[in-house]
Symmetry: C2
Subunit: 460 residues, 2 copies
């Protein structure tokens, strides 16, 4: 990010500002026609941005001016807080109409948020095919390939010709864009895929089985959505077919959903590292925001009390050399920061696949060599500072030695904790944030006062 980028963002945001002002004005008037005609010209994503910033009343009024198809697109593009508010305003019949105009995967996402009885009554109002498919989609975990796939795809038999397939494509009314034609046998098993461009440029009478690629990358419905997205990035794919254990096509995930997954997962990683939930990015009540953060803060508080108890144990050492207290912040801050640097690299590397679990022992060795360099440098510097501030050489030795040791232990923990979590099947990001910092505080202080009491006993 840089100044230029910020100014661009300002421009985009001032466009929305203009739009919001325009809507305020038009919605206050009585003639809906000019507003309706300008809504037709806007992209659903822009309407969604604007909608999120109107008053409740204006929002309801505006949303009712949209045709079903646009309403469906806008509803899908909204942030989840505004989405929930609009759904609450809508009657169930109206909601069923709008959801009926959505691609099935988006419909399932919306309906998955409803109460059981509301869900059932909306499902009743959908066409029975759609209703069946949405029910099926709702059985998959929210963060799996099944949870983001759409069961609508365009499939043909292997012996059909390019011209026949093109004719079928003309009659097909899928909601989502099509990038690949799926070639399946009578048992619905995926045989191969034909990119649209290949189809367009093929001789009319060529059967699709001669046009298709048969080494297709497929994913199972229970694969984690993030892994599916990374597969698509790795192989440059625009759509991933989702298949069952027998290789039968269940649906497909399109690239727009994959891009959203990447965004979502990156935010999740960042916020987990900071010890706060991804919900924090949306508008929530003060109490629910507090609730998300409190668990980590309480853990951290418990750690701090433990630190206090450690220090209390070394009361004698501390009274003997008061100035030791001055460098408690240095030990804590430097241990904390170097631990976070290492753990973040490890967690992000594991997350993106840049680091394989097998490489972790090698990374540990590398990180220990890095901390040898920076630990010695920082230890020497702080040692000089401590001698100058206290006027006593032994303080310099104690603080320098402790700082370097605390950094080394923190860096080792920065690899070992995520490694342990990974092998236990826990998200390493959880262990890498406040947990590591808290652990480092306690071990750092222990190291500091053990070294201090030992050296003071000998030289003090």
């Amino acid at each position: 990010m840089n100044a230029e980028k910020n100014s661009k963002r300002e421009n985009a945001s001032s466009q929305t500002d203009r739009l919001v002002r325009f809507m305020h004005k038009e919605l206050a008037g009585t003639d809906p026609l000019p507003l309706q005609s300008s809504l037709e010209k806007l992209h659903a994503a822009d309407i969604a941005d604007t909608l999120a910033r109107l008053t409740d009343e204006e929002r309801e009024k505006l949303f009712h001016l949209l045709d079903e198809k646009t309403a469906a697109e806008v509803l899908d593009d909204l942030d989840s807080a505004t989405q929930a508010e609009i759904i609450e305003d809508l009657g169930l019949a109206e909601l069923a109409d709008i959801v009926g105009a959505m691609p099935l995967d988006e419909a399932a996402d919306i309906l998955g948020e409803l109460e059981e009885d509301e869900l059932l009554s909306v499902l009743e109002k959908l066409e029975s095919d759609d209703s069946q498919e949405v029910k099926q989609l709702l059985t998959y975990g929210e963060e799996t390939a099944g949870g983001i796939m759409t069961p609508e795809f365009f499939a043909v038999s292997p012996h059909e010709t390019a011209a026949q397939v093109t004719d079928q494509l003309r009659q097909e009314a899928l909601q989502d864009e099509i990038f690949y034609v799926y070639v399946i046998d009578t048992g619905n098993h995926l045989l191969g895929t034909v990119p649209l461009r290949r189809l367009v440029t093929a001789p009319k009478n060529q059967p699709v089985q001669e046009l298709m690629r048969s080494d297709v990358v497929t994913v199972p419905a229970d694969m984690d959505q993030e892994d599916a997205a990374r597969l698509a990035v790795k192989y440059d794919l625009l759509a991933l077919p989702v298949v069952d254990s027998e290789g039968r096509v269940l649906g497909r995930i399109t690239v727009d959903d994959l891009m959203e997954v990447l965004e979502e997962e990156a935010s999740e990683d960042i916020l987990t590292l900071a010890g706060t939930g991804e919900e924090a990015l949306e508008n929530r009540s003060v109490l629910s925001l507090a609730k998300v953060r409190i668990p980590w803060l309480l853990l951290c508080l418990a750690g701090s009390v433990l630190s206090a108890m450690v220090l209390e144990r070394f009361n004698a050492t501390l009274s003997q050399a008061m100035a030791l207290a001055f460098f408690i912040p240095a030990i804590m801050a430097m241990g904390g920061n170097s631990g976070i640097q290492t753990s973040t690299i490890v967690v992000r590397g594991l997350g993106t696949g840049a680091i394989r679990p097998k490489q972790l022992p090698g990374i540990l060795v590398r990180e220990m060599r890095v901390v040898a360099v920076i630990g010695i440098l920082c230890g020497l510097l702080v040692s000089v500072a401590a001698q100058l501030l206290t006027g006593t050489w032994i303080f310099g030795v104690i603080v320098g030695l402790s700082l370097a040791s605390a950094m080394a232990v923190a860096v080792a923990g920065g690899v070992l904790w995520p490694m342990l979590c990974n092998s236990l099947g826990i998200d390493p990001a959880i262990a890498a944030g406040p947990f590591i910092t808290t652990t480092n505080d306690i071990t750092g202080l222990l190291i500091y006062f053990l070294i201090a009491s030992a050296l003071l006993r000998v030289f003090g």
Copy 2:
């Protein structure tokens, strides 16, 4: 992430392991034929994964077995460290052949890493058109829309019919996939785009100007790549046309590149928050890794020395009430963590566009209300702990009050610092990591000892 996901990742990694073992064995033999035929069946991304784990000698041998097109794909898929090593091994003539088989945007990325004289001699060996276009691409900033676009696109005149365009498409030999046909006038100005599916299903004689959408989202060449990627996500686009100030098409950015940008930028944000560079995810030497991290650690060290000086100033207070030292860790850790929670939410929100700069004052108010809840809760808890540990009620009051105040100040800083950075055009992520923590340490300690010395003077 969960256990299942980790086991899937293990599977993917054990596939690569098998492949690596197979390559070791085959490369030790003398007959390259079986190896060559199995290479033909592999996806370039898998070959790249394997290549990164072979010895230098094996890597060179294997790379020379690849045909030009595959070599081009593999080179593009490699991590930048392995890529650099392979390029060093190749002669310039060989490199020119491989680069000539790449899409021009990827060619420019590779050539941008070369020394001036090497670059010139490779450019000389390319076809003169390609060489001109690569030179042009190299003039754009690496992280801009121009830097990731390819100048190859498929464009037609508005009056051409669907059948004519399909014929042209058949003869077109673009390296990258095509999703949209661009309709341009004689001056190269973009009039509209036709999705491939629309073209396929249109009546043969229909002119493309009747098929095209004219409200096309375009981006200027100097737009930040992350903003371009977010535009594509917002509007669900598979390719973004890049235009000059007059609306003339310069090139296009395809979705695979946009997905890579999102990945890259997320890693950059995460690592910047942790105070370490994105280079850390790649294999680098110990010294260069240390160099990336040292600046933040030195800043933090300077802050710690400042903290030590603050504490030294309060020497009298500290000697009067030794137990104050016990809770230095609590003040620092809780201030630090709550500040990081808030600043991470703000920085990520600004990054993804979920928070607009104008909303920041509102977010500040919301965060202050959140910290009122959690600050009072944590303050009360620590107050009880402090009374129990020291046996003195006044310590409970001092520690509880200081903790809540330090948290409030840290949370306010967590919004205000990124806000300041944003308005100065500096990446807020830079200010949100170690910088905020260091600032919070010092202000937290100041608050603690000011409150302590005041209360001890009255009640002590």
